[in-house]
């Protein structure tokens, strides 16, 4: 096996109905788009990959991330970063604390942690925002903090759950490019789940349905 996210014969069934059937590899730096209307199994696929699937679903197949079989691992040990539709910044933490929360505990001492957080904010054009309360940020700034928080946790793959659908049209392009560029720069395999054809086109990669069929736009 080589690097990347290998989804091998992944099948999710509910009461005998197949909801997800996927067998593919997302190469480092590649963006694979999963497209389908709501209720088509997109969020089920994400839950299967993050390990948060409801026990009512039956899951078969394997998920290999960078040579390690993570199919049986708990969500905590999968090292898959997740970006939601809502930025889900923790309102009771400052911007800096939101990032510190995600930064691995092995990064020590205090000074190094602070530096890493500042660097991450700098990379998102948010230098000096560490002490800000998330509630005082604009929509675009919040999205960038959410992205920075996700990346600082050092994930080995990125899952995007319609992360751009709440943004205004011009902001959407900007955040989308920022996200894809950062992922590409880090050679991360990216799986984008969306119902918006514009997202799929901008991702510029393969487009599949949750059942593994090619989708044409």
């Amino acid at each position: 096996m080589k690097k990347g996210l290998h989804i091998i014969d992944l099948k999710v069934k509910l009461h005998g109905h197949t909801i997800v059937a996927l067998s593919t590899t997302v190469e480092p730096g590649e963006v694979l788009t999963i497209m389908g209307p709501s209720g088509s199994g997109k969020s089920t696929l994400l839950a299967a990959l993050t390990g948060t699937l409801d026990p009512a679903f039956a899951l078969t197949g394997r998920i290999i991330l960078d040579d390690a079989d993570i199919s049986k691992r708990p969500p905590q040990a999968r090292q898959i970063g997740l970006l939601f539709q809502d930025d889900l910044l923790f309102p009771h933490m400052t911007v800096g604390e939101n990032l510190a929360f995600a930064l691995p505990a092995t990064v020590r001492p205090r000074a190094l942690r602070l530096t890493r957080i500042e660097q991450a904010l700098f990379g998102m054009d948010l230098d000096g925002f560490g002490r800000r309360n998330p509630a005082t940020l604009s929509g675009g700034q919040r999205s960038r903090v959410a992205l920075a928080r996700c990346l600082i946790s050092d994930p080995k793959a990125l899952l995007l759950d319609e992360p751009f659908s709440r943004l205004d049209a011009d902001l959407r392009d900007q955040i989308r490019n920022l996200t894809f560029n950062h992922a590409k720069a880090r050679d991360l395999p990216v799986l984008l789940v969306t119902h918006d054809p514009a997202d799929a086109v901008a991702a510029g990669g393969r487009i599949l349905s949750p059942l593994g069929q090619n989708v044409r736009i």
């Binding site: 708990p74 969500p75 997740l82 939601f84 923790f90 929360f101 995600a102 020590r108």
Partner: protein
């Protein structure tokens, strides 16, 4: 509305100050000096504070651990269904049930004897009423855990808990750590008032402390209540001084709690900054949550079973695990007294709950129709957070001055002070979140506001209305001190009777009263669950139109 609740409380506090400092005679410190010279005072104060703080902390921590462990699991739905029957049990009944269970001659000792313990007669151990207040702490924790769990369940939907937990998990956090760092800050801000109510109750309650707490000295609240009900009138000013001391002690307790809150926040921030994932905590904490939750559940269920068994027990010599025979003698002998106490209890409960419903709907409807300013929940919590024992004696003195104690009306009015907040809290959120577009559509169809209220809003809010009413009944039935003091000993409810009998040592009779005391709110809850279902069934059956 807020003024309505504040008047009796402020009057009560002023009354206590008036009597304690003997302001009628120009003011002096005799009562305070008398109180200070009571040798039991330091121990009583310490007991009140320690049992209250520890029991509140224990029940809150267990509640949070159970929630963190079970969140998003099917077992949580089961917990949700189990809660209402557990909550229906009044404090006094729960305490009596636990006393029957834990006492040296209690059910647990009987089941374990003589094969495991070697006891052929009740051991001379102070398991109950222990001088450290441990039995009281366990009792309080057991009774308050279901309440805090229910409040947590009500607050969780506003906390975005599932997504936060999922996010924390993908970042490598353990369940307990993820819950603690991302969900509790939001959850606790919603839970704060109920927790404060629990804290105030735990530090100052009389009913549970009388049964489970130490005796020499008892907690300050129990001693205050004794002085209050003492026929010797010279103890009146002493009891008022004790009530003020109780208020001061409660404030100290709250200060300690708030300091602990700050400490917890600092600890949380520190953990967040260091990014500690704390995954190793999950397994031990899961065990603690399970063990604690099951113990509480088992204690409450066994208490109820024990009460039932005692009330129908024939001869039951010590170490028998079960009575030799069953008999209804206790019930039959007590029937006249039981019937009249039940009547009084039900009358006061339905009157105070009915009035609370009318006030609540009137205020909410005013808020909706004439855009009156919404009522802040803090005012409503005041009667729940200020210890009853601090302002009830003052009210009693005032009512005595007008010769108005001892009547059903005064007792009902006092119950209303405690019933109203709970009814309001149960109804305000559903009432406010009702889809106002339905009213708009009805209005365009020509319906008057009155018609909209009676034909649309009220029927659509039937389920929360009935639940709030059941809670109101449970709160009213549980009131001991207000009934005792304001009733002047002439209004006998199941609660006052059960507690009066408890000291007499007739377990069969006490159990019958305590059991019936639990049945009244249980019936109310059962009706609240069954009635909406019945109405839906009828609607479906007649659904041809």
């Amino acid at each position: 509305m807020p003024v309505l609740l504040l008047v009796p409380i402020l009057a009560g506090l002023l009354g206590a100050i008036w009597v304690a400092f003997d302001l009628a005679q120009g003011g002096n410190l005799v009562a305070l000096r008398d109180l200070a010279s009571w040798t039991g005072l330091p121990a009583a104060l310490r007991l009140s504070l320690v049992t209250g703080l520890v029991a509140t902390a224990l029940s809150l921590c267990l509640t949070l651990l159970i929630t963190a462990t079970l969140l998003c699991s099917p077992a949580f739905a089961a917990v949700r269904r189990l809660l209402p029957p557990l909550l229906a049990m009044p404090h006094a009944a729960a305490a009596l049930g636990m006393a029957f269970l834990l006492a040296p001659s209690g059910w647990i000792a009987r089941i374990l004897s003589p094969w495991a313990t070697g006891w052929s007669q009740p051991p001379d151990l102070q398991i109950l009423n222990d001088p450290w207040g441990m039995a009281l702490t366990i009792g309080l924790t057991t009774k308050e855990l279901p309440f805090l769990l229910l409040m947590t369940l009500a607050a969780l939907p506003q906390c975005d808990a599932h997504k936060r937990m999922q996010l924390a998990a993908t970042l490598g956090y353990g369940r307990v750590a993820g819950f603690w760092l991302t969900v509790t800050p939001v959850l606790y801000s919603q839970l704060r008032m109920p927790v404060y109510a629990v804290l105030a109750y735990a530090m100052t309650n009389v009913d549970m402390a009388m049964i489970l707490g130490p005796t020499l000295p008892p907690t300050l609240a129990v001693q205050t209540a004794r002085w209050m009900t003492d026929p010797d009138l010279s103890h009146r000013s002493l009891s008022a001084a004790a009530a003020l001391a109780q208020l001061a002690a409660t404030l100290v307790g709250f200060a300690g709690w708030i300091a602990a809150e700050h400490l917890a926040t600092a600890l949380r921030r520190c953990t967040i900054f260091r990014g500690l994932r704390l995954r190793k905590l999950d397994a031990p904490f899961r065990a603690v949550a399970m063990l604690g939750g099951l113990t509480v559940f088992a204690l409450l269920v066994a208490s109820l079973c024990g009460l039932t068994l005692w009330s129908v027990a024939g001869p039951w010599p010590f170490p028998g695990a079960l009575p030799r025979s069953l008999t209804l003698t206790a019930w039959v002998r007590a029937a006249p007294g039981l019937a009249s106490s039940t009547q009084t209890t039900a009358l006061i409960a339905s009157l105070s709950t009915g009035l609370a419903l009318i006030f609540t709907f009137a205020a909410l409807q005013a808020e909706f129709r004439i855009k009156a300013r919404p009522l802040s929940a803090v005012w409503l919590y005041l009667p729940l957070i200020l210890p009853q024992i601090c302002f009830l004696p003052g009210i009693e003195h005032l009512l005595l001055a007008f010769d108005a104690t001892g009547g059903i009306a005064s007792v009902t009015a006092t119950h209303l002070v405690f019933v109203l907040p709970y009814v309001w809290l149960g109804l305000a959120a559903p009432f406010r979140s009702w889809d106002a577009r339905i009213a708009t559509i009805a209005a365009t169809l020509g319906a008057s506001p009155t018609r909209i209220f009676w034909r649309l809003r009220l029927p659509m809010l039937l389920t929360p209305l009935l639940t709030a009413a059941a809670i109101g009944v449970a709160v009213s039935v549980g009131q001991y001190l207000p009934t005792l003091l304001i009733g002047g000993g002439r209004v006998t409810t199941l609660t006052t009777e059960a507690l009066a009998l408890a000291s007499g040592g007739n377990r069969r009779l006490t159990a019958a009263y305590a059991l019936l005391q639990s049945m009244v709110p249980a019936l109310a809850f059962a009706l609240a669950i069954a009635m909406p279902r019945f109405i839906v069934l009828r609607r479906k059956a007649g659904g041809q139109m």
